[in-house]
């Protein structure tokens, strides 16, 4: 991880951005929908990586913040008739507060205990979304989210998503490459030593959790409007596991890795579903391959290939 982006990485980012901007020019509704959803999942996976890749704690309940952001935005827009900006901003704030509250408990623990506790909190969110029928719609889901007129059009919504995701990703990039991000890595690598140097390790992990949760909330809020509905499955623990696999597939020790993982997994799921109903088995096998052969994910694989090519020249 270098401080400034290398020239080739910068070029890669600009080219992908240019490609993303030109997507609606192809006039394909299917393509626009797929890319919109990939962008949402990419942000979701990138946010999770702040906890996993940077602070080194495995959250197994990240879907909770995605769902909190999504449901809050849905309720404010639809049940209360708020305008887009106040509703969106409030959802982000609500997610941030919720993540801060949960992080207070979770950062007292590490390792497996941390993972279990994040899972338990996400299931609490799931249980509330499931049982609080009058507000969330229960297991029927919150259907018919009112999407503000300005983005109530496929191409407009796409650009709205692109702008939000790009802005959020840029912000995340600066956060992860600031002194804060560096300190997080120090905590991940050796919490005891970081503590001796005077770093408040628990506070750092708390911040990492809050940052991750908040950005997941943004992804959730966009997701709800895109599907015009929020469903309890979004908060279920298997959803947390899926985004964890996306992060891992892309590579958790690289900033953009999780976004690539999200895109790869999403496209694979679409393709697999056309041939067989056994996507879970395919996903399970992908996961086994990553675990046994690709511990650093696709980004690690790319790095290996690159050094191999460089070495053979």
């Amino acid at each position: 991880m270098t401080d400034a982006m290398t020239r080739s990485a910068m070029a890669g980012c600009l080219i992908s951005l240019a490609l993303l901007i030109s997507v609606p020019l192809f006039q394909s509704a299917y393509l626009i929908d797929v890319v919109t959803e990939i962008l949402i999942y990419a942000l979701f996976a990138l946010s999770l990586n702040v906890i996993i890749g940077y602070s080194g704690n495995v959250s197994f309940g990240h879907a909770a913040y995605f769902a909190i952001g999504g449901y809050t935005n849905a309720i404010l827009l639809t049940s209360h008739g708020w305008a887009l900006v106040p509703s969106f901003v409030t959802s982000i704030l609500v997610t941030m507060i919720a993540a801060g509250f949960v992080a207070y408990f979770c950062t007292r623990l590490t390792n497996i205990y941390f993972a279990m506790l994040t899972l338990a909190f996400s299931m609490l969110v799931w249980a509330i979304a499931f049982k609080w029928r009058s507000v969330t719609g229960g297991d029927d889901g919150f259907v018919g989210i009112r999407v503000p007129e300005i983005i109530n059009n496929r191409a407009h919504f796409y650009y709205f998503t692109l702008i939000m995701v790009t802005a959020a990703t840029t912000l995340l990039w600066f956060i992860c490459h600031s002194a804060f991000g560096r300190t997080l890595v120090a905590v991940r690598e050796n919490a005891t030593r970081a503590g001796f140097v005077g770093v408040n390790t628990r506070l750092m992990r708390w911040w990492a959790f809050v940052v991750a949760g908040t950005f997941a909330g943004i992804a959730g809020a966009i997701f709800g409007m895109f599907h015009r509905g929020m469903y309890v499955e979004s908060a279920f623990w298997t959803q947390s596991a899926t985004v964890l696999i996306m992060t891992l597939l892309g590579g958790m020790f690289s900033f953009f890795g999780p976004a690539i993982g999200a895109a790869t997994l999403f496209i694979l799921e679409r393709i697999t579903n056309e041939y067989t109903e056994y996507w879970p088995t395919v996903l399970g096998c992908i996961l086994l391959v990553i675990l046994l052969f690709l511990p650093d994910g696709l980004a690690g694989l790319a790095r290996k290939v690159r050094s191999y090519v460089a070495g053979s020249n």
Binding site: K131, W132, V135, T238, Y278, P280, G284, L288
Partner: protein, 314 residues
């Protein structure tokens, strides 16, 4: 819009609570419901806790093992026409075979890997086993009948109570005692305990540690299978049941303390009580109550009621 506070409040005038206070027979039955449900959960969660205690792996696939237990019990009793007893035995044997294969072919490669790898390996199993169950048993909801000799009710003086559920109330403590005696009073139990402390030293003393790991994994998985078979008459085998039970087991072992047998026993009882009395006081509020109890426990003792604080390098 009903407010969240209103939603989770304990309604002192709720018909459920009033009945509990005024009708001792009703309260007594709720009490037995809580114990029998708690004991069923204990049998399942004990396996999860045992595996964690020795192997230090949180096995997400434990729920899938439970589901397989329930499905096998269905196949043995309803399809093959054997008695319920053989259904339970069949589930245990089936899970022993399945878990031996899984442990030998996959798990032993991840014991020295990080927690994230182990967790995700078990999640890969959840995904694959869920589909395997779908291929074998389809997506129907099956019903398993109660064993003929236990389908009636027993007179307990205060009230009649289903005999089958009474059996669970007895079976739970019996399994608890058997596990406790094994771990505390036998040579192999002590060796197993030693494996939780220092496996290098144990291997240096000439003990075959991998065999112990396999044994513990298989025993824990068999408990999930037995638990699933025992639950099948009132919890119909159906796809997706694995994802729910595993979270309930997690709540139980976190409340009790990971890896502690006593903790799992107490955690399961607490869960049974919260679930039954919670739903009497606030209809549909049982899940929220369970998580609130979990929060309270974690606030006071983050490592669970009977667990030990985590130490560096664990």
């Amino acid at each position: 819009m009903e407010s969240l506070l209103e939603f989770i409040r304990i309604d002192m005038g709720s018909p459920g609570l009033a009945t509990l206070v005024s009708n001792p027979k009703f309260a007594f039955i709720q009490l037995l419901n809580s114990v029998s449900m708690g004991m069923n959960f204990f049998i399942i969660a004990a396996g999860l806790s045992l595996i964690f205690g020795v192997l230090k792996v949180i096995n997400f696939a434990h729920g899938a093992f439970y589901m397989f237990g329930a499905y096998i019990a269905y196949s043995v009793t309803e399809t093959m026409g054997l008695s319920f007893f053989w259904g339970v035995i069949g589930s245990a044997v089936g899970l022993v075979l399945l878990s031996v294969v899984i442990e030998r072919s996959l798990f032993r490669f991840v014991y020295d890997k990080e927690h994230l790898m182990q967790l995700l390996l078990t999640f890969a199993l959840v995904l694959i086993l869920g589909d395997v169950a779908k291929i074998i048993w389809g997506t129907d909801q099956y019903s398993v009948s109660y064993p003929a000799s236990l389908s009636g009710a027993t007179n307990l003086g205060i009230a009649y109570y289903p005999s089958y559920r009474l059996l669970l109330c007895i079976l739970g403590p019996v399994i608890f005692l058997a596990l406790w005696l094994f771990i505390e009073r036998t040579r192999w139990g002590r060796i197993t305990k030693a494996a939780t402390q220092n496996r290098e030293m144990l291997a240096a003393l000439g003990i075959n540690v991998p065999i112990i790991y396999t044994g513990v994994f298989v025993a824990g998985s068999a408990l999930a299978g037995i638990g699933g078979a025992l639950a099948s008459p009132f919890n119909s085998p159906t796809p997706g049941m694995d994802a729910i039970i595993i979270v309930e087991c997690f709540v139980i072992v976190i409340i009790g303390g990971l890896g502690s047998l006593w903790g799992t026993f107490v955690g399961a009882l607490i869960y049974g009580f919260v679930f039954n009395f919670g739903s009497v006081i606030v209809p549909n509020g049982q899940d929220i109550f369970a998580f609130l109890i979990l929060l309270v426990v974690l606030l006071i003792r983050p490592w669970g009621l009977f667990g030990r604080p985590e130490t560096e390098g664990q």
